[in-house]
Amino acid sequence: MSTHDTPTERPTQRQPVKFYQTGTFTVGNRLLPENVRSVQADMRRTNSLNSGHRACQGCGEALGARYAIDAAMQATRNQLIAVNATGCLEVFSTPYPETSWQIPWIHSLFGNAAAVASGVAAAMRVKGHSDVRVVAQGGDGGTTDIGFGCLSGMFERNDDVLYLCYDNEAYMNTGVQRSSATPPGARTATTPAVGRQPGNEFGTGKNVPAIAMAHRIPYVATASVANLRDLEQKVTTAMAIRGARYIHIHVPCPLGWGSAPADTIRIARLAVESGLFPLYEAHDGQVTARTPIRRRVPVDDYLKLQKRFAHLFANEAGKERIALVQAVADRNIAEFGLLAGDDAHG
């Protein structure tokens, strides 16, 4: 507490500490008992994805991966093996012969991370290393598109793997092409902002967390780099469960989204607060918890910070498209009961 000893005008009557006063644990964390502090606040955190890698400034995926893997390491007492799909995370962390990974880590192909992880888990089982756990990780392309068959196979066999999808909503590693996780209206290199219906088509895309739940696997969650403590907790929860688990993490990409690197967290938070990216948990296919929206914002606030949506603000036609995006957010809010005071939903 030495940091608090210097001020001379310290009030004589202290206010009670208000946790969550900024909407996160940032303030509260230091004041919490050690055993409930965040993993990243722990001196013994493993820095599993170490510094020195080559991610862009403001990379949401690098941030999400660091928090998720460190949390998984703590939950497993460092008995963790990671399998990585091809993609930004694999490329920026391992230009040979350097590696940022402080844990056993394997990259095989773009579309097989879930299957490789199943194989690692099988090897651990057969060798009696039940304490060694496995995570697989990939971007949205490697998860919702090319890796989808292997992902579904791992789910239906209920293999003991936590799959982490870092969703930055397009193929960023190859230069921002559309994936089945690209939101409607977004400009990518393959959904250009031209023509009568610029950007990605409405009515397309794939809701992989919902599909994961349909497999009735023990645990599914969505998370965001806007709420890193929540991400850590979900990873910790997942690692306490055996069987197939899935966490879908929203990770802004400044390069692909045309946003300022300093705005990564802000944008991720606006996605949550607008209702475009609902945060929830599901056990055995049933939603068991959702994070209420504290201060609802219109989708415009989220969209206008990103150049991939700039065309929506260029003319009258864009307004109709924005209204359609707002409808997506409204539907999510209704479906999950996300508004504060909406506790009847959970």
Binding site: W105, I106, S108, V120, A122, A123
Partner: protein, 417 residues
């Protein structure tokens, strides 16, 4: 122990004797009986310490095998035909990562047109993937090669395909000598991986490699295969000493020492070839044959020594390099670089067409008289080909080719010979 059993069952028993730890299974004819047999053994508790995983595709089968092998488990899978093509990306990856997975290929044609019968197009399509490829001549050899394959794979840290002719071997009931567990244990030590995913000693496997090191990594893969050229005969000799029978090796010459005509082939067809060779030898014809067991690495030196004194070499291939002719012929030609002799490529047995003694006899006689084309299609029905080519000139929309031929032939499969 001597048994009368199906080829697939014999292979399953051989795999079980090798104490596999992870087996990935996905059905495709004609390899399916192998993994069915293994699945039964695991379920029945006869194969302890083994995980049997039913996956959703061949791509997943080999991907699960990659993960299991990288985590230090002795790993096996099997496939055929389209399945091998579907897992192609992982085939290259397993070899690139240097993972000693053993995989049986129940050799089968590749479509279209879809065809479940035997030829060598499937494994030949993966010939440059970095796997060692061993071809079995008999069910006994298929059984034996799998035992040698694990030893070879693990000593080199390189994946091995054991190729056996679909149906002709996989589904044939034949007498095989199944070794005892103690014999196999004495030949095949426990798997000591060269690289392993282990939290106690973290390593990164599968990093991005740029131009600064890629050539060296690839050269070392080639070097590994060159080392296999020495190791394969060594293991074959050791196997013979311990098990009392010859199996494997690089090549097997038969009556070649004074032969003017030498036939080169792979797999089960060599049995038929030997019979024809014996018949012709009985009539004083100087003919012999060479069976290639190791197709990758390709035994250039051994083949040259076996063939260079001949007047002509006939390469009998169960595959086709469309637009070129033979695949094996290319290698044989390279082995004989600078040697003046006549070389013939014969494409035979595609999609399960029977290779009969009668046809081979005629073929070898034609070759002996040097009356063969450079590339010959054995028993090609020239009338059908001519009529189909003519039919295509009659109408722009002549329709699908294969179906037109079937229609002309009438009863399906009435004349596979």
């Amino acid at each position: 122990m001597l048994k009368q059993t199906e080829g697939s069952r014999a292979v399953a028993e051989a795999i079980a004797l090798c104490r596999p730890e992870v087996i990935c299974a996905y059905p495709i004819t004609p390899q399916t009986h192998i993994v069915e047999g293994l699945g039964e053994m695991v379920k029945a508790g006869e194969l302890a310490g083994c995980e049997f995983i039913n996956v959703e595709s061949e791509f997943a089968a080999l991907s699960v095998a990659i993960g299991a092998s990288a985590a230090g488990a002795r790993t096996y899978t099997a496939t055929s035909s389209q399945g091998l093509l579907f897992m192609a990306e992982a085939v290259y990856n397993a070899a690139g990562l240097g993972l000693p997975i053993v995989m049986t290929i129940g050799n089968r044609a590749i479509g279209a047109p879809i065809n479940i019968w035997n030829d060598h197009s499937d494994s030949m399509s993966m010939r440059d993937a970095g796997w060692i490829q061993l071809f079995a001549e008999t069910n006994q050899e298929a059984l034996d090669l799998h035992i040698q394959a694990f030893r070879l794979a693990e000593e080199l840290s390189c994946p091995v395909m054991v190729c056996m002719d679909g149906f002709i071997l996989t589904h044939a009931y034949d007498r095989v000598d199944v070794p005892a567990q103690a014999e196999v244990d004495a030949f095949l030590p426990a798997f000591e991986p060269r690289q392993v995913l282990d939290p106690a000693e973290p390593v990164t496997i599968g990093a991005m490699v740029g131009p600064e090191a890629f050539t060296e990594v690839r050269y070392l893969a080639h070097h590994k295969q060159l080392r296999a050229l020495a190791l394969i005969p060594h293991l074959s000799s050791e196997f013979a000493a311990k098990f009392g029978r010859a199996s494997g090796g690089l090549i097997r010459p038969y009556r070649t020492s004074d032969a003017e005509t030498i036939v080169v082939a792979l797999g089960s067809v060599i049995g038929t070839v030997k019979e024809v060779v014996d018949d012709m030898r009985g009539e004083g014809v100087a003919i012999g044959c060479v069976s290639i067991c190791s197709f990758r690495p390709f035994p250039l030196t051994a083949l040259r020594e076996a063939l260079e004194h001949a007047k002509r070499v006939i390469v009998l291939e169960k595959c086709l390099a469309v637009g070129l002719g033979g695949i094996v012929s290319d290698g044989v030609r390279k082995a004989l670089s600078g040697v003046m002799l006549k070389g013939y490529t014969v494409i035979a047995g595609l999609g399960g067409r029977a290779i009969t003694r009668k046809s081979l006899r005629q073929l070898f006689e034609d070759a002996g008289a040097d009356e063969l084309e450079q590339v010959t299609f054995l028993d090609l029905n020239a009338d059908i080909v001519a009529s189909e080519l003519e039919r295509e000139t009659l109408s722009r929309r002549s329709g699908p080719t294969a179906e037109a031929i079937l229609r002309r032939l009438g009863t399906v499969a009435s004349g596979i010979g």
